[in-house]
């Protein structure tokens, strides 16, 4: 069973926007869609390392700000002709709080 940790309020992230969570494995981008779904993706485009957290969010996709690679936030897979994958992390929203997969902490402890 996944254990979750609280990282902040849903209102801390603008709709169709993102904020970054720092972890020992690198930054994780936490997105909020127009209909308040929350996704967490590795904040690093596999193409040239662009910060996905700064991309334009449309539907459940995000476009990398550097060279317009588009990722499906459900799977972390690049769309269209680009081939690439970013890690995704489990999230959930409870009473207006955003929770994220706590292994992100544990991994850092191990490190």
């Amino acid at each position: 069973m996944t254990i979750f940790v609280d990282i902040g309020s849903l209102d801390d992230i603008p709709r169709q926007g993102a904020r970054v969570v720092r972890t020992a494995q690198g930054c994780v981008a936490v997105f909020r869609t127009a209909d308040d779904q929350v996704f967490a993706l590795e904040d690093r485009c596999p193409h040239k390392g662009g910060p996905l957290s700064e991309g334009i969010v449309h539907g459940t996709s995000v476009t990398c700000p550097l060279h317009n690679w588009v990722f499906d936030m459900n799977s972390g897979a690049a769309q269209g002709a680009d081939e690439g994958q970013v890690r995704t992390y489990a999230t959930k929203v409870q009473q207006g709080r955003i929770l994220i997969d706590a292994t992100l902490i544990r991994a850092s402890r191990a490190a």
Partner: protein, 814 residues
Amino acid sequence: MSAILIPKKKLVVIGAGMASGRLLEQLFEAAPDAWDVTLFNTEPRGNYNRLMLSPVLSGEKTYQQIVTHDEAWYGAHGVDCRFGEPVVRIDRERRIVHSNSGGVPYDALVIATGSAPFIIPVPGKTLPGVVTYRDLEDTQAMMDTGGKDAVVIGGGLLGLEAAAGMAARGARVTVIHLMGHLMERQLDPAAGYLLQKDLEKRGITVHCKGATKAILGTDRAEAVLLEDGTVYPADLVCMAVGIRPETRLATDAHLEVERGIVVDDALRTSDPHIFALGECVEHRGQVFGLVAPLYDQAKVLAKTLLDQQAVFAPVQTATKLKVTGCDLYSAGDFADAPGREDIVFRDPGRGIYKRLVLEDNRIIGVVMYGDTADGAWFYGLMKDGTDIGPMRDTLIFGPAFQGGAAPDPMAAVAALPPEAEICGCNGVCKGTIVNAVQGGAATLDAVRACTKASASCGTCTGLVQQVMALTLGITVAEAPAGLCKCTDHTHEDVRRLIRSMGLKSIPAVMQDLGWKTVGGCHSCRPALNYYLLAEWPLEYQDDRQSRFVNERNHANIQKDGTYSVVPRMWGGVTTPAELRAIADAAEKYNVPMVKVTGGQRIDLLGVKKEDLPHMWADLNDAGLVSGHAYSKGLRTVKTCVGSQFCRFGTQDSTGLGIRLEKLLWGSWTPHKVKLGVSGCPRNCAEATCKDVGVVCVDSGYQISVAGAAGMELKETEALATAATEDETVAIITAFVQLYREGARYLHRPYKWVARVGLDWVKDQIADPATRAALIERFEISQSVYRRDPWADLSTPSETPKWAPLADLTLEAAE
């Protein structure tokens, strides 16, 4: 359920090359169930792009990348593949094709045996280490020559490709050519000489007028001996002296064979059940070596096999040749003969040579070396038999020098070889696009999705569309492209409907105009945001989340995710206090690079996102505001010192520049806008390549617009002359507003002016009532937007939003 199975007719194809491959594609596409196909091939593999063996040899491509039909393709079409199984005999009476493992009956037979390399009859020709350049085995043998000695016999196109490829693999290569200069069938001596020089520069030895006497060696090739006694060491010898149609099976079957297997216009041989196509055929006395006519044959034969009428009529093709790294072009006839004249252009320093052969004032031959850009144009004149008398004086300089005689853009694209790069950003060549279109990608978006061509900077979009049009065989009237893949409405339509339907938010536009996606995409959202704020400045609430990162964060993102900060310096003028504040900020936030920009201000590069609001607050304290170096909006007004200090200055160009910048700053525009104001025609502010430029003269101000100095380079065009500074400012304000209201998002003024016409722009600005209304609307918009975003975003409530939401590394430490 029952079905009556009609036994399919049996088609046997001998040879799995490019021509028969295309035939099968056409056949399966038109009637997937018409024929049961058995495909024999001597090579132990299916169809690959033989034209791409050279890139495989030089290491630019792998074999896998040039496979046209893989196992899955043959499987999907139910082809019985007999690869590595040569046909030994055709029994015409009983209609059976025999290989060593038995017979296969046919209703129709297609011979596509291609061509065979010509082997010169010299002693040693059968030694191991002697290869030709025809198939993958030959290519692989040549790929292993790194550090060894290789001799290529034959200085034609194929031989030189082999030589260049082996040289690229690190072989010591010698080319032996019988004639006086290389590629004598395509090039004249002068161009042949330039080619030889280029090859020698790459370490390839060229020996012309060299007749091979023998290949020396006991167990395998060791050297090549020439008639003149010269000996070249050779671990590998490649014979590339020519090809001839491979007709042995047809001859044995007593079909009519001349130089090639004789076929009629429907590609039928002298036996009504047997057809032939490709390099093995002869049609009306002609044999074929280039791929284009072979593809035409495939199209015709597919129809013939489906009992449709079709006639093969070969068209003249130019040879746009490519010897790796050399640029050459030849077409037509260029032998010396009575009544023929030459126009020749030589630029020895750059290694450029162009020659046109004329007869009766018509071009009958073209040879070009070093610069072949105009080849397609000359070829068009030759093919059409155009009388070049009127333009003879400047003909050799190409279409750019012929008033109005614009080249047919399609001809240029048609002449491009498959490996020609179309999309520079993503390295997509013409062949890839053609394959995608033939694979079913019928729209620009589909081509973008499966090849990435035109998916980056987009400057190649026109070319990609032309390649698509050529491949589809139709003239694609440039269908008005939708704003993006989310909608079929054009930019112009969307703007018009926002106005007429009173749409005032992005969700409203998407709903009422029937957007096909939820939430749009990264192309349409920024465009809609701009159109809405330009249309409804007082009512529309800017949507930060629909802005590209730079505009959302009011700083330019860099490749490593840091940002650059550029404070405004009005007209490029600053003060010691401002410089001190910039220096302090640079030190305080450990800015790794401080750089002076081309727009007369200072760029602080490498700033972390969470530091941005703090740095802005510090700069604000010194009176500095955002320079909008990141925006589709007013960037800079570049000035010279003008009459205030310069001994040549005619007006106060610095003062005018500052006044313009203070008026225009903060405004959002379809794309960035840069101005320049020069105090005299010496034009030190380089005003004549800006979006708007002013050059001061004694009598007043010359205002010009629509320049460009980026991806394109273009001088501004005169818009108006003004007697006073006030009038100058009014004209420029009206121009900027007209651009804001009319241009497509991401079109700089020069693109917009090209669409609407400078005369129309002039008329609008010249009309006093229109000008005044434009200025009024601009001022209304500026009442909202003429403010510093840095001040708005560095407040105590905003600042925390620039930092990470959480830091789990800290929690771990606890």
